[in-house]
Each structure stands twice: as C-alpha cells, then as structure tokens.
C-alpha cells in the first residue's frame, strides 16, 4: 500500500478543488478532465489499500490535530469502510467524468468541479473517520458543497428554495446527530467511535440512540423525514443526482452500521421490530410514490427512498447476514442508481424532456442507454444473476433468520412494486412507438456512455461473482 493513502484520498480532492478554483482562469478549458484525473487518483489511493483489507487487517492512520484536547485526526480502513469508501470514490469519479459532456455549456465550470471534489472529499471523510467529531465535520463538509451544487447549478427556477430546504433538513438532522455525539462524549469522555455502549447509563442510552438515529434517518430519507430527497435529487444536475442518490444518502446507512450497530447493539436488538417496520414502510411507501411519478428523475429519487428502506430494514433486523446484506446493498444500489441516473441524464440530454409519458421507442435510437437502464432496473428489482439480487437475498435472509418472518415476507412480496415502476419506466421510455419529435434522437456522446458502460459492467460482474465484493465487506459486529 501507499503510505498515508487514506489521508491522501481525502486531501487530494480538497487541494485540487482549491487549486482549480483559485487558478480558474487558466484551467477553465480542461477543468473537467483535471477534476476527473484527481478524483481517479483518489480512487487509486483507496484501491491501494485493498491488499491489507483482503487480509482482514484494519488500517488506522492517526495524526496529531488539537493536542490540548487530545483530539487526533484518525482514519480507519477495514472491511466495513473500505468498500463503501471505494464505491463513493468510484461513483464520484465517474460522475465527474460524466459531467464533462453533460455540463459542457453551463456557466461556472470551475466552481462546479471544485464543489464536486469537495463534496467527494466530504463523503470519503465521513466514511473513513475514526472519531466522532471528525465524522461530524466531514458530515457538514459534504453538506455545504452539495448545497451549492443544487442551489447554483439546479435545473429549475425553484433551485434556491429547494437547495435551502435540503440544507435545513439535513442540517437539522446533523444537529440531532451532534447532540448524540456530544452526549456520548459526556458519558464516555472520548470522541472515539463507540465500541460497546457499556459506559452509557442505561437510562439515557435510548435517548442517545434516538438522537443519532434521527440524524442518520434524515440523511437516509426514511419515512417520514424523506421529503427533502425527491426535490433535491430531481433538482440537482444529473451527475450530482447520481452522487446524491447513489452515494451521499449511503453515508447515513454507513453511520448506522458503524456507530449504532457496533456501539449500541443491545438497543438495536430491543428496537429492532420498530426499525424493521420503519424499513418496510419506507420500502413500500417509496415504491408507491415512484409509481405515481411521470418525471424520470423524481421516479428515480422516490425509488432511492424505497431502496433505502431495504437497507434500513437489513440494518435494523440486527443479524450478521442482514447487516452484511445491507452494506452490500449500499454498494449495489450505489452502482445501479447512479447508473440509472446517468441513463436518465442521457435521455434528458438527448431528448430534452424529463416527462416519461412524452418518451417512447428509444431502444433502437439509444441502444447502450437502453441496455444499461435494463440492467440497472432489473438489478434493483432483484433479478438474478445481477448484483441487486444478492444483497436483497442477504437482507431478507437476515430478516428471516432473526425471526421476523411475517414482516420479511411482506418485504419480499413488496419487491413486486419495484419491478412494477421500473418496468413501467423502461417500457414507456424505450419500447413502443416513437413520438414524432423524437424521431431524430441519437445515442448520447461516448463521454457519457463510458461511465454508463463501466457501471453496467460492474453490476453484471458483481452479480455473477459476488465474492469480489464480499471478501472485502463484512458486518461491523
């Protein structure tokens, strides 16, 4: 491995963001390529640690930060964080690459790419953090650039309002989380990631747990604190939607696994019925809402809510299989949802409409997009042998093995809704007769197709060979 790889993975995008912005005048022309290169470098940094993770060695890099309060800058790379950090970086780098063509003629290129890189750094920072205060800082670091990305480069006139809503919602969530973090500090005297909750008195443990849970649930957009998501994710420019829906909301899932599952195991067991029900409600509700949409990006955004329900369910049932499955689903959903957003972006870019009802018969005009959308949609609908099937299988089998047979059966049966809205979208967009105004539609540029092809290939390869991910991924307990 490379020395300080984990630090470099975060620092590189931050510094390059600053440099890109400062030297904006000179870099304007190639800024997309430079940003992609830097993001890819960060991917390589994370990838370089794979050898240790395969051998189940957990890497802990610590640096002195504020000695007077014994605060250190720490990064932890193990079987829980490595895969998630990698997928965050990969999706960010691909979104960056995708932006080159998609954002071609938009104003404020340097600001856009600088924000994107900062956003990426914030997310990787959250995933790799070894202590809670640093975790909180990176949590806010990913919020701020993403707010700018929505509010400044959003697609409609409502972007300021929506950006504001997004900011307030996630910030309030973050404050709940901060209260939780400070309570942990008050009880344990350390900001280290909690290992076991023994030191927190049993009377207040539920409160601390609830504070953290609310914080993470807002980020994960669990019903009923989900309403920021469809607005924000459909408003953001498509590559950013791919990052928001693909990886940012997963930070909440990761935090759930990292902090609550390993630190508050007992409380999770006690509340696991409620958590499982909340997961299933989100699953079904998000699916139903997706069924009602005609805007491609809103459909995908609601689908994200539904999919986060799966992840929440897998984490909430508190079994090794369920938690591993949930984390695996984090990876798979990241791949497939960003794939779908990029396909939607390609459709929007090429046809100029986001209304599904105005589309039709695009399969022969955009064959790559069509095939990739099919792969993404079928995978998320849980069709073997694509990657989504494995994680859904593991989540449900975790649910059954923890004895929740009825609720898991409801969850399994409700996956038919997922198949319903995705197939409806595919059918309306790609099959049937082509409307006259779309007669001359062409396949999107190669610069947009390459990330789509890469993600689709990952979905298929991981589907056939799930071990490629599962050897470096395990539940945090």
């Amino acid at each position: 491995m490379i020395l300080h790889a984990s630090l470099l993975a975060i620092i590189l995008p931050i510094f390059s963001a600053i440099l890109i912005y400062v030297f904006g005048k000179y870099t304007e022309k190639y800024v997309g390529w430079i940003a992609t290169a830097m993001a890819s470098l960060s991917v390589c940094m994370i990838l370089s640690m794979v050898t240790d993770v395969v051998e189940k060695v957990s890497i802990r890099d610590t640096y002195v930060w504020i000695p007077s309060i014994e605060l250190k800058l720490g990064f932890v790379v193990d079987t829980v964080s490595f895969t998630i950090a990698l997928i965050v970086a990969v999706v960010s780098a691909l979104s960056c690459f995708y932006s080159i063509k998609y954002m071609e003629n938009k104003r404020g290129q340097t600001g856009y790419y600088a924000s994107l890189l900062l956003f990426m750094a914030g997310m990787i920072g959250v995933i790799l953090s070894a202590n809670l205060i640093q975790f909180y800082l990176f949590w806010e670091l990913m919020l701020i650039p993403s707010y700018f990305l929505i509010a400044s480069w959003g697609v409609s006139k409502k972007r300021l309002t929506i950006g504001f809503k997004y900011f307030i919602f996630t910030h309030i969530g973050a404050l709940f989380m901060l209260m939780g973090i400070l309570s942990i500090y008050a009880f344990t005297g350390t900001f280290d990631l909690p290992q076991a909750s023994a030191e927190i008195p049993p009377t207040s443990i539920l409160t601390v747990f609830a504070l953290l849970l609310i914080g993470f649930s807002v980020k994960m957009a669990i019903f009923p604190v989900h309403t920021w998501l469809p607005d924000a994710h459909s408003e953001a420019p498509t590559p950013i939607s791919a990052m928001l829906s693909g990886v940012m909301i997963k930070c909440g899932a990761y935090a759930f696994a990292r902090i609550l599952l390993s630190g508050f195991g007992q409380t999770v067991t006690q509340t696991s019925d409620v958590l499982a029900i909340l997961g299933v409600v989100t699953m079904i509700y998000g699916g139903l809402m997706a069924l009602a949409q005609t805007d491609i990006k809103r459909l995908l955004a609601y689908s994200s809510i539904s999919q986060m329900g799966y992840i929440f369910f897998g984490l909430g049932v508190y079994s090794t299989m369920g938690a591993t499955g949930a984390l695996f689903h984090v990876v798979n959903h990241a791949v497939c949802k960003s794939l779908l957003f990029m396909c939607a972006g390609a459709i929007i870019h090429q046809t100029g409409t986001r209304n599904i009802r105005r589309l039709g018969g695009l399969a022969d005009k955009m064959p790559i997009t069509c095939a990739a959308s099919l792969i993404g949609a079928l995978s998320l609908a849980g069709t073997p042998p694509l990657n989504g099937f494995w994680s859904e299988w593991m989540i449900f089998s975790g649910g059954i093995s923890s004895g929740k047979i009825l609720i898991t059966t409801i969850a399994v049966v409700s996956t038919a809704i997922t198949a319903g809205y995705y197939l409806w979208f595919i059918w309306r967009a790609f099959f049937g007769t082509t409307p006259k105004e779309l007669e001359n539609t062409k396949e999107a540029s190669w610069l947009m197709c390459i990330p789509i092809i890469i993600l689709a290939a990952i979905a298929v390869v991981v589907g056939i060979w799930p071990d490629i991910v599962l050897t470096v991924l395990s539940a945090p307990f």
Binding site: M289, A292, V413, A419, F431, D467
Partner: protein, 680 residues
Amino acid sequence: MLLPYAPWLCWLIPIIGTAVTPLVGVIRRKFSGYLAVLSIGVSALFSFSMIPDIYFGTAPSDLTIPWISNSIIQVGVLVDSLSVLMASVITCIGFLVTVFSVAYMQEEPSLARFWFLIQLFIGGYVVIVMADNLLFMFIGWEIVGICCTGLAAFWYKDSNKAHMGLKTFLILQVADVLLLASILIIYAYSNTLNITELSKNNNWMGELSRSGLLFVTALMFFGGAVGKAAQFPLQEWLPDALAASPSSFNALTECLAGPFLMARVLPIFHQASLMGYSGMINFFLVMTFMGALTAVISALIAMTQANIFKVLSYGISSVIGYMMAAFGLAGLMTDMSWGYLAGTFLLTVDAFVSALLFLTAAYISYAVGSDDLHHMGGFKSRIAHRSMEVGALALGGIPPLSGFWCTNWIQTVAWDLAEEAGIKGQFILMISSYVVFALLIVGAGITAFYGLRMMGLVFSSEEKVPKKIPSLMRISLVATLAITMFLDFLALLLIPSFNKFLLPLLETLTFSNIVDVLIYIVPSISTVLTCVAVAVGGYPAYQVYVARRVNPVKLIERHRFLGKIHGFLWNRFYIDALYYKVADFFGRSSKLVYKYLECSIDALNYGVAGFFRRLSSVLYKYPELRGIDALNYFLAHWVTLFARRFRKTQTGVLSYNMLTAFVGVIMLIALLLLFGGVIP
C-alpha cells in the same frame, strides 16, 4: 458413458453461447444463429450422455462448487433421473426449435438479440432442472422469466407487444416473489438450500408445522409454480406473451418449468404429509383442486379463441392442470408413485406434443402470414396436416395416443384415492377426489372439442397461395413429428421403462411390464367415462368445424344464451380485465397517496418552517423590538435625562466646591462615629 463434466456443461455451454452471441452478431448477423445451433446441439449431446448412467445407476449424484465463500450459497448440480430426463427433453426440443428458428427468423434484422435470448433461455431452463439447491434453481427460474419477457416484447416497436412483455414480467414477478419468500422461510428453518439435504433431514418440516407456517410456505412455493405454469388464476400472461413473441420460440414451452418444480419437491412434501404434519393434506388438496380447475377453465377458454397461439397456450395450461392434479393426488396418497409417475410421464410426453403443435402453428402462420385460425384454412401441406393431427388427437385424448393413456391414468389415480379415503373413513377427502375425478373427465371432453375445432379450422378447404417455406423448417418439423409420433404411439410400451428410469426417486416399481399398465388403466370406470366425454365433446366440434354442417356464427346469433357463454369465454372469464383493474387500482391509489399523504407531509414541513418564520417575526416585533430593545432605549433615555439634570450641579465655582468637600468630610466623620467601632 458420461461425457466429461456433462452435468455442468449442459447448461454452461448455452450460457457461454449467450455471452459470445453479441460479438458474433457484430461480425456477421447470420453467424449468431449457427452459433446457437452449435451451442444447443452440443448441450443436448451432453445431456443425452447422462441418460445411460442414470439407467445403470452409475451417475454421480450431487456435485457442488462454492459460489460465495463462507456461505451456504453454492453452484451445484443434481444428477438424478428427473433432472437428466428433463434436461434431455429441453435440449432436444431446444435443438429442434433452434434449427427451425434459423430459417424462421432469417429475415429478422435484430437476430443477435433473438439468439441471445433463446440461448439464455435454454441455459436458464437447464439450470432450473439441473440445480441441486433452491437458490440456484431460483436463479435459473428468473433468467427464464426475463427471457420470456424479452421475447414477448421482442418486437418492441409495436406498443401492444411491448405491453405484453411488461404484463408477462409483472405477473411472473408476483409469482416469483412468493416463491422467493417461501425459499427464504425454508432456508430459515432448515439451514440448507440443498434439495438432497432437505429431503434427507425433515426435522425442519416438523418445526415449520409446529409454528403453523408449513401450509403457507408450501402454498407460496406452489404460487411460484402456478405463475410460471400459467395456472388459474395467474394464467393470463401466457397466451398474450406467446401471441406476441416470435412464434417459433413458443415451442420451448417455458411453462413446463412449473410442474417440474413441483415434481422436484413433491417427494419432500409427500414425506411431510406421511408424517402427519398439519397443513400438508390441505396443501395437496388445494394443489389438486387448482390443477383440476385450471384443466377445465383453460380448456373452456381455449374453445373460443381465434389466435392459434392463444388456443394452444390455453391448451398447454389445461394440460399442466392435469399434471398438477396428478402431483396433488400423489401427495394425498400413501404411495405417491402412481400419481407421480403419471404426472412426470405426461410432463415428458406433453413437452413434445406441445412443441409439435406450436411448431406446426408457427409453420402454418409463416406460410399464410396470419395467426388467426380462421385465416389458416386452405394451406395444403401434408406435413403440417399430419403434425396437426398427431398433436391435436394426442391432446384430445383419442385412444390409443398418449393423451388418452395419461388422462385416464390420472383419473384412475383420483378414483383410487377416493376409494382409499373411503376405506380410511376420510369422507371429505373421498368427496374431493370424486369431484376432481369429475372435473378431469369434463376437461377431457372440452379438450376434445377445442382440439377438433382447431384441426377443423386449419384444414378448411378454401384455396390459398402460401409463402414458400424454407426446407430447414420442414426438416425440423418432420424430426419433431417423428419423435412425437414415436412417443405418442408407443406410450403404453414406454411406461414400464419410464418407471424403471425414475426408480431411484420412487423406490417402488409400479409397472414392471406393459400388462401392469393395461390392467391398471384400461379396466376402470375412467376409461368408459373418458370415451363418453370425448365423444360428447368431440361430436359437436366435428359437426361444426370438420363436417361443417352448422355455421357457428349463425348458431351463436340464434341462441342468445350460447352467445353469452361465448362472450364470457372469449373474454377469458374477465380475469384479464380484473388484472387490469388491479393494476389500475395500484396506479390510482399511488397517485392518491401521493396527492394526499406525500404532499401533506411536504406541506407540513413547509408549515413547520412557516410557523418558525412567523414565530420569529412575532418574537422580533414584541419581545425583541418592543420588549428588550425598548427597555434598552428606555434605560438609555432615563440615564440621559438624569445626567442632564445632574449636570446643573456642576457649576465650577471654587467656594461651592469647598463647601461640598466640607459637607463630605462631616458626613464621613459622622459615619465613622456611627459605624466605625471602637479603637483598640
């Protein structure tokens, strides 16, 4: 005899072929077809090579390799008589259909996609039959479902056909999630997915039964099979999918995977039933009734349909109803081998009969350019006519063709079960068996009707100039005809060997020679009643469609009651319409929930934000501006006022200053005297 790695390669080769097809298709469009012929042909060879080993009992049984490390998930193949039999049937038909399709599809522009789907389909189908664990089987199951969808929506430019693909996928998905849920429950209770282990160790069924879930789990499992096998009430996808897809594909009869699935797990479920676990008897009763009902309902619908593929798909759905009934009866009996053999034999033979009928239909529709039965008359082709005759008569249960033996056999099993139950004093079971028996007899009559109707309409004598038919299609059809005739006419002779072949699964030799079969099937009340039913069903069909003594259109016009029945059947019992209503309900309710719940949650959020904004403006006005800030100004004001007044005392005259200092000193002394205390 076994070719090396045959149990693996028989499904891997088509899948590898699938992966290569897009590349080959790019190089040269036509090569993709030849590749498919090659891959499926080789796969068939590998499948056949396993037959002798099974017959002589030298085959390896269960082979596995891990798929996901540290977990139960494995890729495994189970080499037993059932799997080898089905794999051979599928690849054999697959090969014939592939050869047929090379010619049939030659003018199609997107050939690579067609061959991609066909090879994947056959690969997935062989995975279903070879799999040794439920999860791997489920994967094959889903692959087959996806390929069906892809082929139903093959001509996706036609909105209607694309829609049929969507419909197929959704109905299959509903069934598949049921199957998946039951597999998960079985896994939770047994801790294994391996079929051999599941049957060896049946404690799990005891536990399931004690927790009261056995019936539900088995029913959900059956639900999966019901969907794929196009059984009532999920049969509606099949006719539409087959009418929309490229016709030659239809001969692959994906729906036979449903009865296969039940045949695969029947020995396990039967054990549970023998051990007296509660719920199992009810499950088998449900299964038998569903089968028998489907046999009648689908046959009834087949009587009126005009599209030949719809007639045939309702036909196959009805025949599968017989198979399901046979398996259900087998589960209810103490010795399951009678019903089990009947079901599996019908499964094997019907695969070929249906393939023959579908290929013939594709052949004729290619020639006359229409799928409508009424447009097919006048096509003079000896091969097509012979094939239609062999298929339709076998289907219609005309002795001595296979259909006659199989239906009779199943009906005899039902009759036997009724007697067995009567002796044991289980009257509900006895009555149910009689009802099933009666339903199956009625089914035989209706089958004879639609079989003859189809034949009569295809053979009607208006002259037409058909399209020239490629010889490859003819060769393949003749080959299918030959194999089917062999099975059809020699059915009786084949049954004892078939029994011997399946012996490892059954443990008892039921029919050691042809005399046993004859004694069991022929001298029964079933034979008489079947003959009567076939005559009653066949006679009107013969009069109306073959001899053409009556015009059916006029007949319907004359009798309003008949017209109403016809309308009801033509609209397929309105089940399809019901599904659209359900789908519509979901769509509508999701919109309602969106409008009311989702938007109100959102409004609530804005409401909360608005409340805080208003609250802050109120707080700004009252406590802030008029309260605290006003107090500040008030204080400032009074301080200023006081200072202004006080300033007047500051005159600057020395005498006043001195006077003030003097007063101050006196006051100090006075204070000291009062509070100073005593000097020590």
